[in-house]
Structure formats: structure tokens, C-alpha cells
Amino acid sequence: MSRSRENTDLSRPLRSVIFATLPLLVLPQAASSATAAEVVEKSHQAFYYAGADMKARVTMELIAANGRKRTRVLTMLRRNETGGREQRYFMYFHQPGDVRATTFLVWTYPGKDDDRWVFIPAVNMVRRLAASDSRSSFVGSDFNYEDVSGRDVESDTHTLVREEELDGVPCYVIRSVPKTSAEYVRKLAWIDKSTFLPKREEYYDSQKELARVFTAHVVEVVGGYPTVVKRTMEDVKRAHRTEVTFEQIEYEMGLPEGIFTQRSLQQPPRKWIQ
């Protein structure tokens, strides 16, 4: 399996982060007997559901094959709905300049299409977006909506292929095959045995060729939660990649439910999006 060079460079800081956070983590001996689906489920919890709520300032750099860049800066607010696996996301765009104050609201449900709304300030309009296609790119980046808010664990058949070290970190290697046709025919994920965060994911397309690669470069513990603060999604075939940095991360702020409504699309909650 080929690995990018950045990975190796990052292995040392990564490892120290992980050692420092080990005591906080879910029991490692349970993992060895875990089934593949359980590993994926835990990984989802660690990656998408950490904390009851979360806030981050997200910078996305879209980098084309010729080196040209497009930058997107947004504030992302997330709230887990109590008792279920539903989530709500609120996104406010700071950059690029001409889309400033554009906002997105996403309600996700397990086993069902998301609800999405968008506010377009130049025409002062809120529109609901019905997208049966969660493979759609997220604001033009190499991430799609599923990558941002998570794909149902039940949508794929998961197999534990092997356990191996990736950059010195013990990982489960899980193969996931979609049950119905999807953007990929096979996904290989390296999931950190201790944090359950994905370290690397490889997506193979219908030509059985490597199409996209996700890499978690830097993991930091914020408010007790190991968090991927630097990640990349690379479209291998297009030689296009998106680098994402999370800053000003906060968990458990007690975000009120009212933020995640259509009304705040037009009147974003100033307090949370500075």
C-alpha cells in the first residue's frame, strides 16, 4: 500500500499526541474482539459525533493540478439531537468575499436523505435543497456531503481486512463495500485503534482504480476529544486536492436548538460565528 510522504513526516507529532491522550480513550482490549461494523460505528462516533455540540472555524483550500487555489472560510456549528443519531449543522461563509453571509443548514437523519437549506443574501432568499445525491461536492471541494456529515454505517458491508501499523500507529484496516451503487465500489479505511479516528481512507471507483484519498494529518485533543484538525481529500485522478484546517474548536458549549432553524439562516447567531 502506498503512502504519501507527508504522512511519514507527520508521524512523530501524531504519535506524541496519541500517547498523551491514551488514558482518555475507549478500552483498547475491547477493540481486538470488535467486529468490523462495531469498529466503523465507533469510528463514526469519534469522528462525527464527538461531544453534544461543536464549533469550528474551517478553512478549506481547493488546490488544482496547476497549483491555483480557491479558499473557503466558514464557521461550522454542530449539535447532536438527544437520544438519536440525528444531527444538525449550521454553516456560515466568511470567504470568498462575494459569498460572505451565505449560510447552510443541514439536518441529517439515519437511513434517510438529509434536509438542506441555503440562504442566498444577494437575492435575500432561503431555498430548500432536495438532494437525493449525497455524493454532491461540498461547496466545490473534493469532499462531498457524506464526507462532511457521515454516511450511514448500514449502507456498506464492512470487513476487517487486517490490523497493521500506519506511520507507527496501530490501525484496523476495514474494507467497506456499498450495498447499493455509490460513488465508490470499495473503500479501505485505516482506523486508529486507540482514538478510532480514521487516519487514511482510500476510495476505489467503478474502474477499480484509486480515485480519492482521505488523510488525517494532525490530531489534537480539544476539550477531551481527539479531533482531526488538519485533513486532506485528494482526487487522485484529477490531481486536485482540498486541504482543511479546523481552528477555534470548542465542544459542549450548549448550542441552543434555535440556531439550527431556517430563521437563523437569514439572521445568523452573531455570538457563535465571530
Partner: protein, 775 residues
């Protein structure tokens, strides 16, 4: 002047006759070395390589492809006369599309089809983003709803489905153009498996045509070239009735081809469309000297019955004309090195090399082979009871000579009239080409081209790149509106099937945001609205979709112009249409416009070809004239030698003008070498005429002599060369057909001009000309 015995070329022949086995063995060893190079053959079928790698339009096209993420396209038309919007047929198409996505080399996210492309519709504040055909319709009502939905979206209308509902299209971008043939084969086998009976498929687009051409071309080389070879041998046999002549002639042609191709491959050149034609060009030319040698040998041998003497004596008057005919023909081909088109340069230089090699063989290998033949066999083969060969041709040649000499005024008048006709015809010549036309009319590629371009928005891609003077300028409302105006103007031309641009995206988003209110199908007046619409668009589909039309800095926009025809003239017409628009509607400040795309690139190299060929023709005209001066040491004689070929060339091209055949790539190539080949007969004629006149001093008697053996040799030669090119007409590729037909015509004209015009002129002005050269 006449340097018998001490002639270095004659020495060469003497050596060959003294050591025939060694000379032949040596030639064969060298040939084996050249043949050994064939193992490293590499093939290049890309017409883009007609341009230098650093040619500015090509560099620009590459940057357009990279910056806008555009790829060469295979366009698949699926046609069902019963109507394609039926649940069962849509089901098949959906499955076939999924299979096509699995073919390596297909760029999955960029495939445009019913199931992979998104449509945005709106109703009651809801923007619904879904594949054009998310679910396959289960009943006729759903099918017709799908059809209506597609007709409503200008992005899909006539792009994915035809207006009459009989066809749908798939646009399949591919990673490498030179894989189009392989991918096209795989697509066809998928479609064969999946389509219903009565449904047909058509693969169109320049990449398929170009790559398929490359593959067929090599088939042609394996079939047409050997066929031409056999045909030439057959003609030689029919004309001379001497089976003994076939071996030396065949040997010369084969060795020359192997040497030329071997050297070409061995020196690291790719075999391009052009170079694949080297064997068919070289073979007939290679044997012209042999026919003179064997013709002379035959006449002598009948008198003396001594092989060696017959060869040596028969060849004496031939060394000079053979040297000069070979030099002029080689110079004609070598003049192609003056063009700016790399494959043409390679072609010209290596054919020239092959010609010189063939000339060398004519003086060495050919006499050596003849000398090794048993006297017994030669006698039997060459001295048949009746002795006379092809009496019809001989009589014809003789009467032509007498006629021209006697009725010289009429001949000159006729020549003048034909010259005028030629000049008038040349002025009617239309420069035009289209790689799809390189296939004969009935070929599936031609059929696909006409079907798909009739039903859909056009398979010939051209890109109009609009560049602003600063970043973000494209997003300005005035620029965006101007782009939309250009599109409207271009689309009014019926040649333009469809145009797409970032302005269309903006208009579409504006429309769907306003619940489909048609009055909003326009560019908004605020720049930030445009920015936000594009942002929304990016959040609703594949990121590439926007990148195809606008670059990262929003400084450049790319307008896709789909043409229904790919002729160079059609491309030029669209360029003129844009220029007119720009002249009457001044663009917003600082905008620059530049064309690109395969259709445009083809137009560019075509132009280079025409200019290049003109340069080459003029160049070789000068070179041939200088060689004639060197040969005859007389301005008069040199001018005289140039006359028949000038007439022949003017007539051949005049004919093209009158018939209305386009001046295309193959015709352009023919032009420069026509000179070198057509002058041959004049050289032979004048050289021998002068020699004899010096001896006899009588014009009439000399003319009688000329239309004996020398005229016969010219006549035989003409028949072999003209007819020898004809097997090319059996080819399924039109460039081969064109070349075959053109050469047959040219050589015919050249022979007629030589045999009629020269005696007439010599009669009219002979004493003066001959007098100058006389002694």
C-alpha cells in the same frame, strides 16, 4: 562532355558485374540491418502532432485543457426509431451506462448521460437536484415526464436527447486521446450486449475518428502496399512479357522500402499517418530507373546476345538522366523539409533517402541480379519467336510522336488552351479538410458523424476562451451578459449546434431560484448575486462542472461551442462570425478572445500545411530548375524541361478546382513531390534527344528515333507508374484513394505533355535550341 568509361557511375556498375554475388550479399546484409530496426516501431496517430510541440496554438490548447479540466470526448448516439423514451429501453441504457463507466480511461465524474448528470428543477421554494434520470421510469407517463423535463432545461435539450425523441446521447470524456480506439471498441461491445433489437448506436467525435484512422492506416499498410507491389509487378510483366525482369524490379522496390522505413524507425522517428504512406509512394518511384535499365538492356541483348555487354552498353546513355531524375524526385520530396509540419518533414526526407537508395540499386543490384541469371533462361525469356512486345503501346507512342511533330502548331495551341484551363481551375481550388472525411462515405464513422450531428447539438468541439484584464472580471454582470450575447449570435448560425458557458449556469440558477419564472432566465444585475449563484451551483453537483467554464481567478471563461460540422472552412466561418460580432458590438474593456479545441487545431495545421506546401513547391521548383541547368548547361533546355511538368501540375490542380474536390492534407502532400516526379520524362526525353541530334543533325530523323526505344521506355514507365498507384483506390481511407488517383492523373498528364509538347516545341524552335546546345 561525353566521358565514356571514366564515368564513376559506370565504374559502379562494372564492380557490380565483376562481383555480383558479393554485391547482392552486401546489399542484403545491409537490408537485414535496416529491417532489424522494425522491432522498435512506435506508432503515432494523433493529427495534433502535425503541429510542433511548442507551436503556440497547441500550447494554448493544452493550457485550456489543463486549466478548464476539459478532455477529448467520445460522443455516443443511441437511436431507436420507435422512440427511445420507453421504460424498457431506458432501463437498458441505464445499465449500459453503468457498464461504460467501468471502462478504464473513462473519466467517471465528467461523463454526461441520463444517469450521471444532474438536473436542477424547482417548485414552491424547493430546489431539487437529482440525476436527469434518477430512477428509470416504470410507465409511459413517467417516461414522457422525463422527456419534458429534459426539453425544458437548455443545458440538456438537444444535448442529451434529440428533439424528436428517437435518440439519447452519452458524452464520454477520456483520459488519453490515443486510447479512443480501444475505449470505443469496449463501448461498442457493452452496447451490443445491452441494447434492444432495433436500437442502434453510433460513436462520433474527432478523437474516435482520428484514432480509428490510425488503426486502419496500419491495416492499409499491410494490405494496400503489398497489393500495389503485386500490381506493379503484374504491369511490368504485361508490358515486357519478361518474367526475368520481375526479380530485379521487385528486389529494388523492396530493398528501397525497407531501407527508408528502417532508417526512419532506427533514427527514433514515430510512424505517423504521413510516414505510413512511404511504402506506397516509394515503390513505383523506385522502379522507374529499373524500367529504363531493363528496357535498354533488352534492346541491346537482342542485338548482341551478351549479358554483360548489353548491360554496360545499354546503360551508358542512362547514367546522367537516371542521376538527374533521381536527384530531382528526391529534391521534390526533400523540399518538404521546408514545411513547419514535423511529420511531413520526416516523410519527405525519408522518401528522398529511399529514392537515392533505389537509384543506387538500379546501377548495382539490378545489373548484378540480371548477370547472375542463366543465359539459357534469359534467352528463352527475352527472345521469344515474335520478338515484339506490347506492340499496341509501341505503335501508339510512335504515332503520338509523328502527330506532335507534324501538327506542332495545333499541339502548341492546344497546350496553351489547356494551360489557361488549368490556371482557371487552380483559382477555383477550395482549401478544406476534416479528419472524419478521411473515411469513405459508407464507413461507420461517417455514418455516426451524420446521424449524431443531425440529432444532437454537434460533435465537433471548439472552445472560445475569453480573458479579462484582471481577476474576478468574468463575474461582472456586463461581461457575463456579453458572453450570453456572443452565444446567441453564434447559435444563430445553423452550423452551431449548441453553446454552453458560465452565463448559462448563472441564468439557470437564477431561473430555478425563482421557481422557474422565465423572466428570470437572464444574467442578474448584481455581481455578488452572480458569485453566490455560482457558489450554489458548486454546492449542487460535481466541482468540475463549473471549472469547465471558468477558471479559479474568474479571469478567464471558456465557452463551449459544439459544431455540427468539422470542416476547416466551417470553423473559419464561425471565427469570422465572431469577428463580425466583436466589430459591431465592442466588448467590455480589456476582454480578449481566443479560439481553441480540436476542430480549431485542425484548422490551424491545415493552414500551415497549405502555406508550407506552397513554400515546398516553390522551393523544389527552383531546385529542379537549377538541377536542369546543371544537367543541360543551357537556359533554354532547362526551361524546356520545366515546361511539360508545369503544364501537368497546373492541369492536375486545375482539375481538382474544376471537379470541386477540396484541397486537403493528401492533396497538399502530393503537390511538392509532383514536381520531382513529373520532370523525369522530360529529362529522359531531352537528354536522349540532344545526344541523338548531335549525331544526326536532323530534327525529323531525331524525332523518329526518339519515338522508338526512348519513347517506348517513357510510355512503359508511364503506364507502370500511373496504374501502379491505382490499387490505392481500393483503400477504405480516402487519403490513400486521393493520392492514388491524383498521381495516376498527374503522371498521365505529364506523359502526354512530354510526348506531345516537347516534339512540337522542338520542331517550332528546335534549330535554335538544339543549335545552342548542339556541339
Amino acid at each position: 562532355m561525353n566521358i565514356k568509361g571514366s564515368n564513376p557511375l559506370e565504374k559502379l556498375t562494372r564492380i557490380a558485374l565483376d562481383h555480383p554475388r558479393k554485391v547482392i550479399a552486401f546489399a542484403i546484409i545491409l537490408t537485414a540491418a535496416f529491417a532489424f530496426q522494425f522491432r522498435s516501431i512506435s506508432i503515432d496517430t494523433d493529427p495534433e502532432n502535425m503541429l510542433e510541440p511548442d507551436q503556440s496554438e497547441r500550447v494554448f490548447y493544452n493550457s485550456v485543457k489543463r486549466d478548464f479540466g476539459v478532455h477529448d470526448l467520445i460522443v455516443v448516439g443511441l437511436v431507436d426509431q420507435q422512440g427511445i423514451f420507453r421504460p424498457d429501453s431506458l432501463q437498458r441504457i441505464s445499465r449500459a451506462t453503468a457498464e461504460i463507466l467501468k471502462i478504464p480511461g473513462v473519466i467517471i465524474p465528467d461523463v454526461v448521460s441520463l444517469t450521471t448528470t444532474d438536473n436542477i428543477t424547482s417548485a414552491g421554494g424547493l430546489l431539487d437536484i437529482h440525476p436527469v434520470m434518477g430512477e428509470v421510469p416504470q410507465n409511459p407517463a413517467e417516461s414522457s415526464r422525463l422527456r419534458a423535463e429534459m426539453a425544458e432545461n437548455p443545458f440538456l435539450h438537444e444535448k442529451l436527447a434529440s428533439t424528436d425523441g428517437t435518440g439519447v446521447a452519452l458524452y464520454i470524456p477520456i483520459r488519453e486521446k490515443n486510447q479512443s480506439y480501444r475505449i470505443a471498441q469496449q463501448i461498442q461491445s457493452v452496447l451490443k450486449d445491452h441494447l434492444l433489437p432495433g436500437q442502434s448506436y453510433h460513436l462520433a467525435g474527432l478523437p474516435v475518428a482520428e484514432d480509428t484512422f490510425g488503426h486502419q492506416m496500419f491495416l492499409q499498410m499491410a494490405v494496400t502496399a503489398p497489393l500495389a507491389f503485386c500490381c506493379i509487378l503484374l504491369l511490368v510483366f504485361l508490358l515486357f512479357r519478361k518474367s526475368a525482369f520481375l526479380l530485379p524490379i521487385g528486389l529494388d522496390a523492396m530493398l528501397a522500402v525497407i531501407w527508408a522505413m528502417g532508417l526512419l524507425i532506427g533514427t527514433g522517428h514515430t510512424v505517423h499517418i504521413m510516414s505510413s504512406m512511404i511504402p506506397v509512394f516509394l515503390m513505383p518511384i523506385a522502379i522507374t530507373d529499373d524500367i529504363h535499365v531493363l528496357s535498354a538492356f533488352y534492346d541491346r541483348y537482342r542485338e548482341t546476345g551478351d549479358k554483360r555487354r548489353a548491360l554496360l552498353e545499354g546503360m551508358v546513355p542512362l547514367y546522367r538522366p537516371m542521376l538527374f531524375t533521381s536527384l530531382t524526385t528526391a529534391a521534390g520530396f526533400a523540399s518538404l523539409a521546408l514545411t513547419d509540419i514535423p511529420p511531413v518533414r520526416v516523410f519527405g526526407l525519408f522518401v528522398a533517402f529511399g529514392i537515392i537508395a533505389a537509384w543506387l540499386f538500379s546501377m548495382t543490384v539490378v545489373p548484378a541480379t540480371v548477370s547472375l541469371m542463366s543465359e539459357e533462361r534469359l534467352r528463352r525469356s527475352l527472345l521469344p519467336p515474335q520478338g515484339d512486345s506490347a506492340p499496341l503501346l509501341d505503335r501508339l507512342v510512335r504515332s503520338v510522336g509523328r502527330f506532335a511533330f507534324a501538327r506542332y502548331r495545333l499541339v502548341l495551341l492546344l497546350g496553351m488552351a489547356l494551360l489557361l484551363l488549368g490556371v482557371l481551375g487552380v483559382q477555383r481550388i477550395q482549401v478544406n479538410d476534416n479528419p472524419v472525411r478521411w473515411f469513405k462515405e459508407a464507413h461507420p464513422i461517417r455514418l455516426a458523424d451524420s446521424v449524431v450531428n443531425r440529432l444532437f447539438g454537434g460533435t465537433y468541439m471548439a472552445y472560445l476562451v475569453i480573458e479579462g484584464e484582471r481577476p474576478e472580471q468574468i463575474k461582472q454582470p456586463d461581461v457575463m451578459a456579453y458572453i450570453a450575447q456572443i452565444q446567441t449570435h453564434l447559435e444563430r448560425d445553423e452550423l452551431v449546434g449548441k453553446t454552453s458557458s458560465v452565463a448559462d449556469i448563472v441564468k439557470r440558477i437564477n431561473l430555478v431560484l425563482h421557481d422557474g419564472d422565465r423572466s428570470y432566465h437572464e444574467v442578474p444585475e448584481r455581481a455578488d448575486a452572480i458569485g453566490q449563484f455560482l457558489f450554489l451551483f458548486q454546492s449542487s453537483g460535481d466541482p468540475d462542472d463549473l471549472d469547465n467554464f471558468i477558471d479559479y481567478d474568474a479571469q478567464r471563461a471558456n465557452v463551449w461551442v459544439q459544431l455540427k460540422g468539422g470542416d476547416n472552412q466551417q470553423m473559419s466561418a464561425i471565427e469570422r462570425r465572431l469577428d463580425e460580432f466583436l466589430a459591431f458590438n465592442p466588448p467590455p474593456s480589456g476582454l480578449k478572445f481566443r479560439w481553441s479545441g480540436l476542430t480549431y487545431i485542425n484548422r490551424i495545421w491545415q493552414d500551415l500545411m497549405v502555406v508550407g506546401m506552397l513554400k515546398a513547391v516553390l522551393g523544389s521548383f527552383v531546385v529542379v530548375f537549377l538541377l536542369m541547368l546543371l544537367q543541360f548547361r543551357s537556359l533554354w533546355m532547362a526551361a524546356l524541361a520545366m515546361l511539360p511538368l508545369s503544364l501537368a501540375i497546373l492541369l492536375s490542380y486545375g482539375l481538382i478546382g474544376w471537379v470541386g474536390k477540396d484541397y486537403d492534407m493528401p492533396i497538399a502532400v502530393c503537390s511538392s513531390l509532383a514536381l520531382g516526379l513529373a520532370v523525369d520524362y522530360a529529362i529522359h526525353f531531352l537528354d536522349r534527344f540532344r545526344k541523338h541530334y548531335r549525331l544526326s543533325g536532323d530534327l525529323g530523323e531525331t524525332n523518329e528515333y526518339m519515338f522508338g526505344e526512348p519513347g517506348r521506355a517513357i510510355g512503359r514507365n508511364a503506364v507502370v507508374i500511373s496504374l501502379g498507384f491505382l490499387p490505392l483506390m481500393l483503400s477504405s481511407l480516402t487519403p490513400y484513394v486521393t493520392v492514388g488517383l491524383f498521381f495516376a492523373t498527374l503522371m498521365l498528364f505529364s506523359t502526354i505533355a512530354t510526348l506531345l509538347l516537347l516534339p512540337a516545341i522542338l520542331r517550332a524552335a528546335g534549330r535554335r535550341i538544339a543549335g545552342r546546345v548542339g556541339v
